[in-house]
């Protein structure tokens, strides 16, 4: 960095006024008998974005902390941080190379879509069962393993779609079986402390699945072949393909944005799955029943919905979504029995960010985490440190979310 003092001075200013805004705003709102659920977040963001110039009018006028204000304040904070960064490090790739930033954003969004799908499964389980599934990473791993073995060992040459369906069925079955066998004692009072029990038993499932797969399949890295290699395209002309250029493994848009084939295909499958899931949840009776149970179990039971059956469906579906994420990514990453640990950790960050129990929150959280990881790794000046901090980016987001809005962006207040 050329002028690190500028950057760190701005960061310090933002943290200081963010803290002041986060602490003082809820007290002022409380005194004015206003809803304070979003006051710390709004105060912190407005303080970070505009310092006292924004906070004083906020305290005086005390408008309702609407999503619009929070979005504006977030945008303002990001803009301020980006400007400070640009001034401090003008030679940074993120400052002087638009194509680099475009590629980072594209890759961040692509990965964020896939992360979001996996996190959706976790939040679905929580919204219905009120249980955090600590074996979520293992469902992800099993989904990938099933696809690999299906396409490379058991039925080489079989259509990939069948392999993905097999992965979905296997993870669905494991999820359903686990719920019936180990989680039902929580509902009928056989367990004294159901929440702690659920945590422990899902940890147990995680270790069991991980080491079972290691014992059966070994621990050597495996990988599925690309599902759908790109056809060779050159647009508008082969001599000057400035709009779109593809090879089997990569596509380049506008000579700027480079996206690898496996991730692109995985993201497309994730979006299709998301649309199917939304259709299921909002257009089918079963989906509406699931949503009803997540809103109010007892009211749903009164309306004739069996909450226990919805529990099984939710856990199975949640595990299946993780398995599907793994099934799409086994062509992108080398797969080992421990491959699910990092994505599981990321899923926890995403669901806290988006709000436990919120499906749109999980997806939006996935996009945000994908973008932050891409931006952090791409923009941190020291290349020998940038990638090492990847786990930290998620933890910083988690910490800020827990401090400022513990229920997450779209979480319901319990």
């Amino acid at each position: 960095m050329e002028h690190p003092l500028v950057f760190w001075a701005v960061v310090t200013w933002m943290i200081l006024w963010g803290m002041i805004g986060g602490i003082v705003t809820p007290r002022i709102f409380l005194r004015k008998d206003m809803d304070i659920s979003s006051a710390p977040l709004a105060g912190a963001l407005i303080g970070a974005a505009s310092g006292p110039f924004g906070l004083l009018p906020l305290w005086r006028l005390a408008p309702k902390s609407t999503t619009r204000w929070i979005a504006v304040a977030t945008a303002g904070s990001v803009l301020l941080l980006a400007t400070a960064f640009a001034i401090s490090d003008p030679d940074n790739l993120c400052v002087d190379s638009g194509s680099f930033v475009a590629s980072l954003i594209a890759n961040g969004l692509v990965m964020g879509t896939i992360y979001g799908l996996m996190a959706l499964g976790l939040t679905l389980i929580f919204s219905i069962l009120r249980v955090v599934n600590f074996a979520h990473g293992e469902f992800y791993m099993i989904g990938g393993m099933v696809v690999y073995f299906f396409t490379a060992v058991w039925f080489p040459g079989a259509p990939v779609v069948l392999a993905i369906l097999a992965a979905c069925l296997v993870t669905l079955a494991i999820g359903a079986a686990f719920e019936r066998l180990f989680l039902t004692p929580m509902y009928d009072g056989r367990v004294e402390r159901p929440i702690e029990y659920a945590i422990l038993v899902s940890f147990g499932l995680a270790f069991f699945l991980q080491y079972l797969v290691q014992a059966l399949a070994g621990a050597s890295p495996v990988k599925a072949q690309r599902f759908f290699p790109f056809p060779r395209l050159r647009l508008p002309t082969s001599e000057d393909p400035w709009v779109l250029k593809t090879s089997a493994a990569n596509l380049t848009l506008f000579d700027t944005i480079s996206i690898s084939n496996p991730r692109f295909v995985a993201a497309v499958i994730s979006i299709i799955t998301l649309i199917a899931l939304l259709w299921f949840l909002y257009r089918t009776w079963t989906g509406k029943a699931l949503r009803a149970v997540s809103q109010d179990r007892q009211a749903a039971a009164v309306a004739g919905i069996d909450p226990d059956r919805m529990n099984m469906l939710a856990f199975a579906l949640g595990g299946m979504l993780a398995g599907l994420s793994g099934a799409t990514l086994v062509q992108a990453f080398s797969w080992v029995p421990q491959v699910g640990m990092l994505p599981a950790l990321r899923s926890f960050v995403i669901v806290v960010l988006g709000g436990l129990g919120s499906l749109p929150g999980a997806f939006l959280g996935g996009l945000i985490v994908g973008l932050v990881e891409a931006a952090g790794t791409g923009c941190i000046p020291d290349p020998s440190r940038a990638a090492s901090y990847i786990p930290a980016y998620g933890m910083i987001i988690l910490t800020l979310t827990l401090l400022l809005k513990p229920t997450g962006f779209f979480g319901r207040k319990e």
């Binding site: 790739l93 190379s97 680099f100 590629s103 980072l104 890759n107 990965m111 490379a152 290691q214 070994g218 621990a219 050597s220 890295p221 495996v222 990988k223 072949q225 090879s247 493994a249 990569n250 380049t252 480079s258 690898s260 084939n261 496996p262 991730r263 992108a332 990453f333 080398s334 080992v336 029995p337 421990q338 491959v339 640990m341 990092l342 990881e373 891409a374 790794t377 791409g378 290349p383 020998s384 440190r385 940038a386 990638a387 090492s388 990847i390 786990p391």
Partner: protein, 418 residues
């Protein structure tokens, strides 16, 4: 017998029995059968499992061979294998367990430098000899601990082979080094960078945590740097992930001179995980198959039969010889006393698959006496260092030509940037 004599006989018998049972400190008897040896390797993530499993098989073959020939000091060897997971804290705990609970008389193996760096202190505290098979960090031996020996190459020497090779690649001024944030990766990158700068090349180092999967942003940064060559100092699955993701973004071995991690020598796993890895250069440590001695040929045959692989990785050969050297040293010492084994190791000459393995510098001849750096303490001097290149898709490592240095060369390199 008279009561007094009977009493004297019982006392003498009791004293003798006590001396036998309690008087012998750990391993001091000439032959306390079976002789337990510890074998260490990374057998689960985030360690390099491909490397660890290769070492485990090699160690098992070595022990089986020794036992088939009658064992050591008339005793069979009992092998106790442990998983380091590639983590220093696990390695340290493993050493504690092997020494204190399993009562091994010596330990061999090891893949990750971070494990070696931490665990050597346990070996030193307990006075148990260890031969590190594939841990490269110079400080493992430069700390001059009496118990620590190594057959693996030194990181500085291995880095030298890389940058000296890069010097031969035409049109290279700017190199990207992608390494891991470990006791192996950081020093190796520093040594490579220093070497490259000494020949007027610039180098940028990108470091990631061990076990990293997603390299998209790193690949984009490397691509933006427009390097003339890429050197991968990552290990394990992370290296495979990086190599393939770089290839998918037009920065792979088919686009720019690319040195892959040594794990690429396991060709089955390499082509499965890096299908776009053709033209990758790979470090080979130990003689190529064409130059194998009889011991190496015999080991290679057994290893390939057992594992189904087409070639033998260098870290497997190193692990195999590490056990062999220990057995030879114990036989030479005539005892399983750790101090006796250490003394024997300092003067041992073992005809192994690597060649004639010995440790010329130690207590009797300090490296400084011949103007050598402390890193040569208890260090095997001659791990043959060379580079081969895959020149056909799905090529077996044994069929790939050695392209550097000239003394081992079997074919010409293909430089994709020419």
């Amino acid at each position: 017998m008279q009561p007094r004599l009977r009493k004297l006989a019982s006392v003498l018998l009791g004293i003798t029995a006590s001396a036998v049972i309690f008087g012998a400190p750990h391993g001091a008897l000439a032959a306390n059968c079976p002789i337990k040896l510890g074998g260490i390797a990374p057998l689960s993530a985030p360690g390099s499992v491909t490397g660890g499993e290769a070492q485990r098989e090699a160690i098992k073959i070595a022990v089986e061979e020794i036992n088939a020939k009658g064992g050591v000091l008339g005793c069979k060897i009992e092998l106790v294998i442990g998983d380091t997971e590639g983590l220093p804290e696990k390695g340290t705990a493993l050493f504690e367990k092997l020494i204190s609970q399993d009562n091994v008389v010596a330990i061999a193996g090891g893949y990750h430098s971070s494990v070696g760096m931490a665990a050597k202190e346990v070996a030193h505290d307990k006075g148990i000899p260890v031969i590190f098979a594939s841990t490269w960090n110079d400080q493992i031996t430069s700390s001059k601990l009496p118990e620590v020996f190594r057959v693996a190459p030194l990181s500085s020497e291995a880095s030298a082979i890389y940058w000296k090779f890069i010097a031969k690649i035409p049109n290279v001024k700017n190199v990207a080094i992608v390494t891991e944030n470990t006791d192996y990766g950081i020093p190796a990158a520093e040594e490579a960078k220093k070497g490259l700068e000494s020949i007027n090349m610039s180098a940028t180092t990108y470091a990631v945590d061990i076990g990293n999967q997603d390299f998209a942003s790193i690949v984009l940064r490397v691509k933006a740097q427009k390097p003339d060559a890429i050197l991968t100092l990552l290990t394990g699955e992370a290296s495979l992930n990086f190599e393939q993701q770089a290839a998918e973004n037009g920065m792979g071995p088919g686009d720019v001179p690319f040195i892959c991690d040594i794990i690429a020598a396991e060709s089955n796993s390499f082509w499965k995980n890096v299908p776009d890895g053709n033209y990758c250069f790979v470090g080979q440590f130990g003689l190529p198959e064409a130059l194998y001695n009889d011991a190496a040929k015999a080991f290679a045959k057994k290893y390939k039969e057992r594992t189904g692989k087409d070639s033998v990785e260098s870290y497997a050969v190193e692990a195999y010889d590490a056990i062999g050297v220990l057995a030879t040293a114990i036989e030479k010492a005539g005892s399983t006393d750790p101090k006796a084994i250490i003394a024997a190791l300092e003067s041992v000459e073992h005809n192994g698959a690597l060649g004639k393995v010995s440790f010329p510098y130690g207590t009797s001849k300090d490296p400084s006496a011949e103007g050598k750096d402390a890193k040569w303490w208890h260090q095997y001097l001659d791990p043959a260092l060379m580079i081969f290149q895959y020149q056909e898709v799905n090529q077996k490592a044994g069929d790939a030509p050695i392209v550097f240095p000239d003394s081992y060369k079997t074919g010409e390199a293909v430089f994709v940037n020419k």
